[in-house]
């Protein structure tokens, strides 16, 4: 339907694009990069969420500094290859991931992708609020207060009704993912051990066991999760990136992967003293348990940094994951979808994020809620149902009708197909092993 007055969403995006155009014309490269970064950094640091940081801490406490340091670098390199495809998809088509799936492959895959994402995200949001609650408990803050503040921050950021501001607020918060770096420094890791680990992929205490294989599967399976594909592509579209911005979009994703890998490795290093002291972490449930156990080794300040990092991890992930649910739901239902919308035009868009956030927060506060069952279901959904998401991504990025010259080249397809097939296969195996752990015995 033709409109006389431009929409607020278009006006705000056009304003952002004028700044980009000016910076490009004047060859202000750093300013241009600053204007165009965001989705890649947020998606990578968002994936360093509460459960991921607990997983990295468990890795450090179980294996110390060794095999998993270069392995984490490898998984983020794989994540970069996959996420870069979403940058090109968004910049070439100016459409989100969910709407492309729906429009190009029909309602079955459209509804499946959306339902898979929304259910998985809802359960993942619960685990993020568990991380916020556990991190705050370390400081003696009661769950009701920490969860309420978490809800206020997630929903408060949405009230900005401006993508660019929302993105910068999140980037400001996401910087605190690097709190794990000073925590790691306080653990006094050996530089030589870190270099040795990266060069030799060792040591690997205990050898290859069922627990080691499960951890490998979990790490690869969680390298890329469905919400990351949907979030980054939709954010690229909302930000207004075009085919001229692909290089900066790639740089954004690469920087995000690198910073996230540094934070992840720092978490391994921070928890490594528990390995040296033979502390059994198998009964640890949250980041707060690690912070408490680490206090004798990295001091009160280090443990506090660790707990604060856990709160940040849960908070930033809650913000990005709830946004990805909003984008996917509104795109599938052909409703307006942008963080530049006002509340009237974006009723469904904002309601999806707010309702899912309130639901997750309420679940965490219910005494006796089946939180462990939900955490397990998150792992199974994210890994077992990743294969269809990755196959559809590859089909879309090879669709020359919509991608034109930005479609995958032969070389990109070789790397992309190998990585996608690897992640999908390993993810599916991990999903099955999680459900039937006896298979690895």
């Amino acid at each position: 339907m033709p409109r006389d007055e431009p929409l607020r969403e278009d006006l705000l995006r056009a304003r952002d694009r004028r700044r980009v155009r000016t910076a490009r014309t004047k060859r202000h490269r750093l300013q241009l990069l600053w204007l165009l970064v965001g989705p890649g950094i947020l998606v990578m640091l968002g994936e360093n969420d509460g459960p991921s940081m607990v997983s990295y801490a468990t890795t450090g406490a179980t294996y110390g500094i060794g095999f998993f340091v270069p392995f984490i670098l490898l998984t983020f390199a794989m994540a970069f290859v996959v996420q870069e495809m979403t940058v090109r998809l968004g910049a070439a088509t100016h459409r989100g991931h969910a709407e492309l799936i729906f429009q190009r492959f029909g309602p079955f895959w459209g509804w499946f992708a959306m339902a898979d994402l929304v259910v998985g995200n809802l359960l993942t949001l619960v685990t993020e609020f568990i991380a916020i609650e556990a991190g705050a408990l370390y400081f003696g803050i009661p769950p009701v207060a920490s969860v309420a503040v978490g809800v206020l921050l997630v929903t408060g950021a949405l009230t900005l009704r401006r993508y660019a501001t929302w993105e910068r607020v999140l980037m400001g918060l996401a910087v605190f993912n690097l709190l794990f770096v000073p925590a790691a420094i306080l653990a006094r890791p050996s530089g030589a051990a870190l270099v040795h680990a990266i060069v030799t992929w060792g040591p690997l205490p205990g050898g290859i066991t069922a627990g080691f294989i499960t951890l490998i599967l979990a790490n690869i399976g969680a390298t890329v999760t469905p919400w990351m594909l949907f979030f980054q592509q939709s954010a690229v579209v909302d930000k207004g990136l075009t085919s001229a911005d692909i290089a900066e979009g790639r740089a954004d994703t690469a920087v995000g992967a690198l910073v996230a890998a540094v934070a992840a490795i720092a978490t391994v290093a921070a928890a490594a003293p528990l390995h040296a002291a033979h502390v059994d972490v198998s009964h640890f449930l949250s980041g707060a348990d690690f912070a408490t156990a680490l206090r004798p080794f990295i001091g009160g300040a280090g443990a506090s940094l660790f707990a604060l990092g856990m709160i940040e991890a849960g908070l930033v992930a809650a913000m990005t994951i709830s946004a990805s649910s909003s984008y996917a739901m509104a795109e599938t239902l052909a409703r307006r979808h942008s963080l530049n919308l006002d509340f009237v035009q974006g009723r469904l868009f904002y309601a999806a994020a707010i309702v899912s956030t309130l639901f997750a927060a309420a679940i965490v506060l219910i005494p006796g809620a089946p939180l462990l069952a939900m955490t397990l279901a998150v792992n199974v959904i994210a890994t077992l149902l990743m294969a269809p998401a990755l196959v559809l991504l590859l089909l879309l990025v090879n669709d020359r009708e919509i991608m034109g010259t930005l479609a995958n080249t032969r070389g990109a397809n070789v790397a992309g197909i190998a990585i996608v097939a690897g992640i999908a296969l390993v993810g599916a195996v991990f999903g099955v092993v999680t459900v039937f752990p006896g298979l690895l015995a």
């Binding site: 278009d10 056009a14 694009r17 155009r21 459409r95 279901a377 149902l385 294969a387 459900v435």
Partner: protein
């Protein structure tokens, strides 16, 4: 353009298909070759197997099994 004369387009910095009025028009359904059709059929079978496993995992964990 107004009666008072030409005025600059406030959306001139956007590519044509970035405008909401264009972006909200659905793309046509992709014509699938035989290979991709079979791939998607296989993927549907995978989903049919995977969903019961997900449900089983959740129910099993819920009942403390």
């Amino acid at each position: 353009m107004s009666a008072a004369g030409p005025r600059s387009d406030p959306l001139d910095a956007l590519e044509p298909d970035q405008r909401s009025s264009v972006a909200e028009r659905p793309l046509p359904r992709r014509k699938l070759g035989r290979g991709i059709t079979w791939l998607l059929v296989g993927l549907r079978l995978y989903v049919l197997v995977a969903i019961p496993i997900v449900v089983y995992a959740f129910v099993h964990a819920l009942t403390g099994g």
